[in-house]
């Protein structure tokens, strides 16, 4: 047991080492005629060594950490001593969560504009991952055209703003609703399809949207895309250097000097709030009848129907709700880039989002968030290795699928306590049932 534990802990540590040394430990010197590769300075290498040690230790004691209240040891132990941890560590977990969220809100004030911008980028991917997680992870409907809804959200904001002059907040609502509508519409033709067939049709749908945006030059500007999308405003207060006619700017209002990072931080905060809301909503949905119905549909759609559940509504609701979150992410994307074009919404984006869901662990919110952070930030952090990006990505996916097909953080089943007292009362109410059984058993 201990030996295999150590081995199990060793694998992630070695994996980390294998990935981090080429990604972070090497330096490309481009000054000379022939670029050379040298090791990074000592502090980076020490950092990698420490992190590797930490990962090893964490994996070693992971089972003893009462994360989510149920660990493997709980499952094995007798029923009498199961389930103690849930309530005991509740307050600790709450404090930790509050601290984490608070730090997420505060850190942009102390960091560079580039870092905050990367933060928005990551949050957009988190949103996309969470949305697709509903469709693929929970409802088990393989969707390869998810980027289509992302595009609908982005173009929704860009076009509504260009033609009707609507502001960010109105468009956020409209784009979310529009993407949801598209999800609903896509749901109809694929109602009868499953597995591979479904994947191909959704793939086609994603491409249709991209090609439509690319070729409908009159409306969408074609391959040139749409520019000058305004950033978000705060109750009409603008974050630009000079106010538009009749408008007020943020720095004038507060009497501080203008800084370009204000609007970045503001958009980051918006993205953060939307993401937190999404996490909360999906978390609630998962434990509601609709969430359970999604999962039941994934597990066995025939049994689902034989229990009186309508497959059509369950499927459509998964598509609609998943697409809505992609729409919100699209609006944030448009506001962040201020210029969008169809090339941002190619199939590779769909594949990336799907990779986030699979890598994180199908259905697991925490896993998907973690995977989104990794996948969205890695290419930005290791720009020097841009040429090897897809290679690294491929290696990572192969290794992950071989060693940990369930994902980084597989979904944990909710542990529900039954009311024992009520149960006993019920048993007294129907004593004849138990009596008959006893009599027959004797």
């Amino acid at each position: 047991m201990t030996q295999s534990k150590a081995f199990n802990a060793l694998i992630p540590a070695v994996l980390f080492l294998l990935l981090s040394i080429p990604l972070m430990g090497l330096q490309l010197n481009q000054g000379q005629i022939i670029p050379t590769v040298t090791l990074q300075d000592n502090s980076t290498l020490v950092g990698i060594a420490f992190s590797t040690g930490f990962i090893f230790l964490f994996q070693l004691v992971r089972e003893k950490i009462p994360f989510n209240g149920s660990s493997i040891s709980n499952l094995i132990s007798s029923p009498a001593q199961r389930v103690p941890s849930l309530h005991k560590h509740d307050s600790f977990k709450k404090i930790l969560t509050v601290l984490l969220i608070a730090s997420l809100f505060i850190w942009p004030l102390f960091s560079s504009r580039g870092a905050v911008d990367l933060g928005i980028h990551i949050l957009i991917y988190v949103l996309l991952g969470l949305g697709l997680n509903v469709v693929v992870g929970l409802a088990g409907l393989l969707d390869l055209g998810f980027v289509g809804f992302y595009a609908v959200g982005a173009y929704g904001y860009a076009l509504l703003n260009q033609y009707f002059g609507l502001d960010f907040w109105t468009c956020l609502l409209f784009s979310g609703a529009l993407a949801a509508l598209f999800g609903f519409i896509l749901g109809f033709p694929v109602l009868r399809l499953r597995g591979d067939y479904l994947a191909i049709v959704t793939l086609g749908f994603g491409e249709i949207i991209r090609i439509l945006l690319n070729n409908w030059s009159g409306l969408t500007g074609g391959p040139n895309g749409i520019g000058q999308i305004p950033p978000a405003t705060l109750f009409g207060i603008e974050f630009s250097r000079n106010a538009s006619e009749g408008g007020t700017t943020f720095h004038e209002l507060l009497g501080i000097s203008y800084s370009g990072s204000h609007k970045v931080i503001f958009l980051y905060l918006i993205a953060l709030v939307i993401t937190l809301l999404t996490v909360w909503v999906i978390n609630r949905l998962r434990n509601m009848p609709i969430g359970r119905a999604w999962e039941a549909l994934r597990e066995d759609d025939i049994a689902c129907q034989s229990l009186g559940m309508n497959k059509t509504t369950i499927k459509l609701s998964a598509f609609t709700i998943g697409a809505m979150f992609a729409g919100l992410a699209g609006t944030l994307f448009a506001a962040r880039m201020s210029h969008i074009s169809p090339e941002s919404f190619t199939f590779i984006e769909s594949a990336m989002i799907l990779a986030i869901v699979v890598l994180g662990g199908m259905g697991s919110q925490f896993g998907v968030i973690l995977a989104a952070i990794i996948i969205a930030s890695l290419p930005e952090l290791v720009r020097d290795f841009e040429q090897y990006r897809m290679l690294m990505f491929g290696v990572m996916m192969v290794v992950m699928m071989a060693w940990r097909p369930q994902g980084l953080m597989p979904m944990k089943r909710p542990h529900i306590e039954m009311r024992k007292k009520e149960l006993e009362e019920r048993a007294h109410e129907a004593p004849e049932a138990t009596n008959t059984r006893k009599a027959q058993a004797a």
């Binding site: 359970r292 129907q305 229990l307 089943r413 008959t436």
Partner: protein, 262 residues
Amino acid sequence: MSSQNNNQNASLLEVEELTMRFGGLLAVDSVALSIQEGQITSIIGPNGAGKTTVFNCLTGFYKPTAGSIRFKGEDIAGNKNHEISRKGIVRTFQHVRLFKNMTVLENLLVAQHRHINTNLLSGLLKTSSYRRTEQEALDHAAYWLERVDLADMANRDACNLAYGQQRRLEIARCMVTRPTLLMLDEPAAGLNPKETAELDELISDLRSNHNVSVLLIEHDMKLVMGISDYIYVINQGTPLAEGKPEDVSANDDVIKAYLGEA
């Protein structure tokens, strides 16, 4: 016996001339069934006789080619299967079909989907009506878990249960939907003799104490003969015989169909 007389006036499920054709294959030909309230009715027959096809027609998985199916006087032939199950006909499957990667308790909560307040907003905001229905569903599930001896397994994944337990869970999952007619497709398949005896006892109890009529497909003759009030025999898609267990077991045609002619 007086109850039986009452029931003869209005049977729960009345099937006439049920025919199911797959291309050139006539799988079920003019089958008639009449299921009385509060009785256990069995369909038996050799392998490939069309028993499961009859089940699939009754529960709406297939749209029957011809014939009428009346449930409580209402024609349900050709209805979608979720509609039929909402009317109170719920079935189990020949091969267990649980939601394998969900916990035992979740399996029972899913089955009560329509009894819980499924309004999205009230669920998100945890309104009192949502919490009440959710708690009721939980209590109902707990009661049935206790009833089929799975209370200790409530938070295990369904796929980790022993086979016999999975069978019992499938029956419990049907029962939490509060059905009128429970249809069991070979519930004893793969069970050991002790488990079969427990199943026998469970089915009788469901009928006597939980107001449910049972339609059973089964190959275990000891179970069928002991438990059934009435038996239909189907052979190669056509009705062969029907009657009380003792009549059917004495019927020459039935013996011939099962054992072949000498």
